[in-house]
């Protein structure tokens, strides 16, 4: 039942409003609302019960193993939330003067420094509010750099065919055209194709390393040299930073600009779809173009870096200081982990992924890149099962839900047919990994003997498979009383 369907005229959470409605006699009547909006009319108890019960219909990291490749579903430490919401921090106005903001500013500055150090970049801005905004900022900085040198013939960004959709979408938002290059069967990008694609029109290349197919781009230094020689810049999509945190630094690999996904690598909450945070780090030559605001220390106190300090900045991306509360959570996480903890993130996420890869191969599942080490994630392809048993990756994913596991990422990257991109993260124990593998083995057995049953899964959740076609054809996205 929807909250609207539980309403009763005149019902309200009386404890949450003043006893009377103040008069608005100073406002012209033609600017006032004449009919109230159609909102729920429920008691406080009803609202609390309704939303608590809704929450119980969700899978979440706190309740289920969630090996979503490329999403880094690691434990979100509770302290990160409660400490970020301390009075003084949670109620600080974005325009509070620096004199009364040293606590907040010191956290932001420290976080900038930590992110710089762990990624090997020269400067960091915490402004972008999500990975995609970080990508946009990164590509916008590349454009600003070339424009500042009157190098305006460069109108193309190179993107591997396996790239995440936000990469080409962000580049287009900056006015660029896209040139795609293929990925080879061993998982590395095709360097010969790259050489063909490079030229005076190349503004840059957007890469993820480890790549979206879950393997380390072994020729990265050569690729960096080639792109730089052609006058282009290298952009690093930090989606897979969890695989190399503390072990390899994007700055050392030759990248000029990177974005980090704090909601992945630094364990800020996924929140049912957001908010994220996508700080960007740059090499020296892109420093003047960083988005504002940033935080500086002038020898005495912390202060905001202003637009005047950075005349070449690409500008601001939000009204205030980005997703400040999320940045605080990432900072708290970084202080809990420390230097050693960060290095262990890469070590144990990689250990978990390689263990799962070997066990799944031993159980007869096909790895997409069998000759390669898993990084923090790996891909298996269910094309054999799809062909022989008629049961697809989607069917396996839905049946896994009945086994109490959230399915891995399916059908991404687009290159590998019927794929599962599996990322356990470092916070899962060996028991969780073993249960997953056992569930996969059981489902395959079910697929061999009762394929139709698997194709009808899930059975144990609040709903069965949903009619997406109906949802799109008969668009119902707003409730109304006669619906």
């Amino acid at each position: 039942m929807l909250i609207f369907e539980q309403s009763s005229k005149g019902r309200r959470a009386h404890a949450q409003s003043p006893a009377t409605r103040a008069s608005l006699d100073d406002l012209p009547s033609e600017l006032l609302r004449d009919t109230p909006p159609l909102m729920p009319e429920v008691s406080e108890m009803q609202a609390v019960r309704h939303y608590t019960r809704l929450s119980q219909k969700n899978f979440s990291i706190d309740t289920h193993f969630y090996p979503l490749g490329s999403c880094t579903m690691k434990y979100n430490p509770r302290a990160c939330n409660s400490l970020a919401m301390l009075p003084g921090l949670v109620d600080r106005h974005p325009y509070a003067p620096e004199s009364h903001s040293q606590g907040f500013l010191s956290c932001m500055h420290d976080l900038q420094e930590i992110l710089k150090e762990v990624t090997g970049m020269k400067a960091v801005s915490l402004a972008p509010m999500a990975g995609a905004q970080g990508e946009f900022a990164g590509v916008a900085m590349i454009k600003a750099y070339h424009d500042s040198r009157d190098d305006t013939a460069r109108n193309e960004i190179i993107v591997p065919d396996a790239a995440h959709g936000t990469n080409p979408a962000s580049a287009v938002m900056c006015g660029y055209k896209i040139k795609e290059i293929p990925t080879r069967d061993d998982g590395d990008i095709d360097v010969d194709a790259l050489k063909q694609a490079l030229g005076p029109q190349t503004a840059g290349i957007m890469l993820t390393n480890p790549s979206t197919v879950g393997v380390f781009e072994r020729r990265i230094q050569e690729i960096a040299a080639l792109v730089h020689e052609a006058g282009g810049l290298l952009y690093y999509d930090g989606a897979n930073l969890n695989a190399i945190l503390g072990k390899v630094r994007p700055g050392d690999m030759g990248f000029d600009v990177i974005h980090m996904n704090l909601h992945k690598t630094f364990s800020t909450p996924h929140g049912g779809g957001g908010p994220g945070a996508g700080p960007v780090g740059v090499s020296k030559r892109l420093e003047p173009f960083l988005p504002i605001p940033m935080v500086d220390h002038d020898g005495t106190a912390y202060r905001f870096v202003s637009a005047d300090d950075r005349p070449q900045s690409i500008g601001r991306l939000s009204a205030f200081a980005g997703n400040a509360g999320i940045l605080l959570r990432a900072y708290i996480y970084a202080r809990l982990l420390g230097r050693e903890g960060m290095t262990r993130v890469a070590e144990y996420s990689t250990l978990n992924a390689n263990y799962m890869l070997k066990k799944m191969q031993a159980a007869g599942f096909e790895a997409a890149y069998p000759e390669r080490r898993a990084t923090h994630e790996f891909i298996i392809t269910l094309r054999k099962e799809a062909r022989e048993l008629g049961v697809t990756a989607m069917d396996f994913a839905k049946r896994l839900l009945d086994y109490g596991v959230h399915a891995p990422t399916t059908y991404f990257p687009l290159l590998v047919p019927e794929c599962f991109l599996i990322e356990p993260t470092e916070t899962e124990s060996i028991d969780a990994l073993d249960s997953f593998i056992e569930a996969m083995i059981k489902i395959r057995e079910e697929a061999e003997t009762e394929a139709d049953m698997v194709k009808g899964a899930p059975y144990t959740l609040p709903v069965r498979r949903l009619d997406d076609v109906k949802a799109a054809r008969e668009l119902d996205i707003t409730w109304s009383p006669d619906s």
């Binding site: 150090e117 908010p275 980005g322 400040a324 709903v463 498979r465």
Partner: protein, 451 residues
């Protein structure tokens, strides 16, 4: 090892299964030159108790202020239930609802959210949120350009009385796509958008007009007149509004003859704490006609195999993960957690509760302004009705006044000197319903001493 559960024995077991001698072996595909560096500048990890002490100390530094700043972020009462429920693990640590069957809680909540926002704006449809109000404006501009097939100019009229940071952020987003943001001045007496200035563009190809309500100065603009101007000149109307104010003010769907085409703005006043400016959420509503041009996630109601009601992401084909370079936007995230809180907040308050909160906030602010303007030398700048904040002119330099009052922990308002030098020494002051009478009296007392 914080948050890593492995015992030494388990590590041994796992390495054996892999056939490796050490964890280090697992990194053997990575060139060794890339693996040597030190991270000395990163501090050692601390146990939770010590991190808590550190954060308490820092939070204390920024505490105990009397805050009279609005300027796009407002400290309204938030019922305790809102964040207790929103931070339940099932909401807090859930992922994007791509596997709909495992996410019916979040999906139904987002559908309810969409319905409430559409009702609040009196518009047909809403998306499931964007990052914040400023970037929502940027996205609204891109959407208007896509949707307005007859207009070729890509010219957008933006009032100077719109939040300066919104204009700046929107500009960052649109500037590489040959889109021109044209400033429309405000009337110096009323603070409203100047119709005279607007009329210079009458009869020319304008893709969209942006209308703020209230505007950055708190001033209530002549939204019907402005909307009709856009309708007559075949420009789309993008409304940028305070959602709490819409519980008592005429909403964008009812402006002019046909209402606004797109309504967007900052959702923070609906149950989101100030938290230094984020995370907040941007809302976006539109008419049914242009729903397919709307960026961001959209949740639809449908049925499952047994005919039971269910909810799922819909119209995904427009989004980056499918359409890639031709997507409506590069946006991947919505502000899920914030929208969860806002939906619970709106359910707890309902239409009447929201209206009472808005009225109480406006009322408290009237008390503040009445006390401040009684001080000799302090004047209300614009002679027009306002909602919840007011521009006051000071007899002294605004930056000095602010510094002086800050010494008593009074954050007196937003200094308009940098963005609007023509207003002279002016502050944008705000009070919400949460402000105590004592704080207001203290502000008035201290300001009087200085002036």
């Amino acid at each position: 090892m914080p948050f890593i559960p492995h015992t030494e024995e388990e590590v041994r077991q796992m390495l054996d299964a892999i056939g490796a001698n050490s964890i280090d072996d697992l990194f053997d595909e990575i060139p060794s030159e890339l693996r040597s560096f030190s991270l000395d500048r990163i501090p050692d990890g601390l146990p939770e108790m010590e991190v808590a002490q550190l954060m308490h100390e820092r939070a204390r530094k920024d505490s105990n202020v009397h805050c009279f700043i609005g300027a796009g972020a407002y400290d309204h009462h938030i019922p305790s239930a809102v964040w207790e429920i929103a931070t339940r693990g099932e909401f807090y640590s859930a992922y994007t609802p791509y596997q709909a069957e495992a996410s019916q809680g979040t999906l139904q909540l987002l559908y309810e959210y969409q319905s409430m926002m559409a009702a609040l704006m009196a518009m047909d449809v809403s998306n499931a949120s964007l990052y914040d109000g400023a970037s929502a404006l940027g996205e609204a501009i891109l959407m208007a350009i896509r949707a307005h097939r007859k207009s070729k100019s890509k010219k957008i009229l933006v009032p100077r009385s719109l939040h300066p940071a919104y204009r700046a952020a929107a500009n960052t987003i649109v500037k590489n796509q040959n889109i021109e943001l044209i400033d429309i001045p405000f009337d110096e007496t009323t603070g409203k958008t100047s119709l005279t200035a607007l009329n210079e563009y009458a009869g020319t190809d304008i893709t969209a007009l942006v209308i703020g309500q209230p505007n950055f100065f708190g001033v209530l603009d002549d939204v019907d007149e402005l909307t009709r101007w856009a309708e007559e000149n075949n420009a789309m109307i993008i409304a940028v509004v305070n959602p709490l104010a819409m519980s008592i003010l005429k909403p964008p769907g009812q402006w002019g003859n046909n209402g606004a085409d797109i309504a967007c703005g900052e959702g923070q006043p609906l149950g989101i704490p100030l938290s230094s400016g984020g995370p907040y959420f941007g809302f976006m509503c539109a008419t049914q006609k242009i729903v397919r041009q709307m960026p961001g996630r959209i949740i639809g109601r449908t049925v499952d195999l047994d005919g039971k009601q269910g909810f799922s992401l819909t119209l995904q084909a427009r989004e980056q993960h499918i359409r890639r370079s031709k997507a409506t936007s590069n946006i991947c995230t919505n502000q899920g957690l914030m929208v969860t809180a806002a939906t619970i907040h709106m359910s707890l308050l309902g239409a009447e509760g929201l209206a009472r909160a808005a009225a109480a906030s406006h009322d408290k602010h009237r008390k503040l302004v009445s006390g401040l303007s009684a001080i000799p030398g302090v004047e209300v700048k614009f002679n027009t009705p306002v909602f919840n904040e007011t521009v006051i002119r000071l007899p002294k330099k605004s930056s000095e006044v602010l510094e002086s009052l800050a010494a008593d922990n009074i954050l007196a308002g937003f200094d308009l000197a940098d963005d609007y030098p023509e207003l002279g020494d002016a502050l944008l002051v705000c009070s919400t319903e949460k402000q105590s009478d004592q704080s207001i009296d203290l502000f008035i007392e201290k300001l009087e001493k200085i002036c």
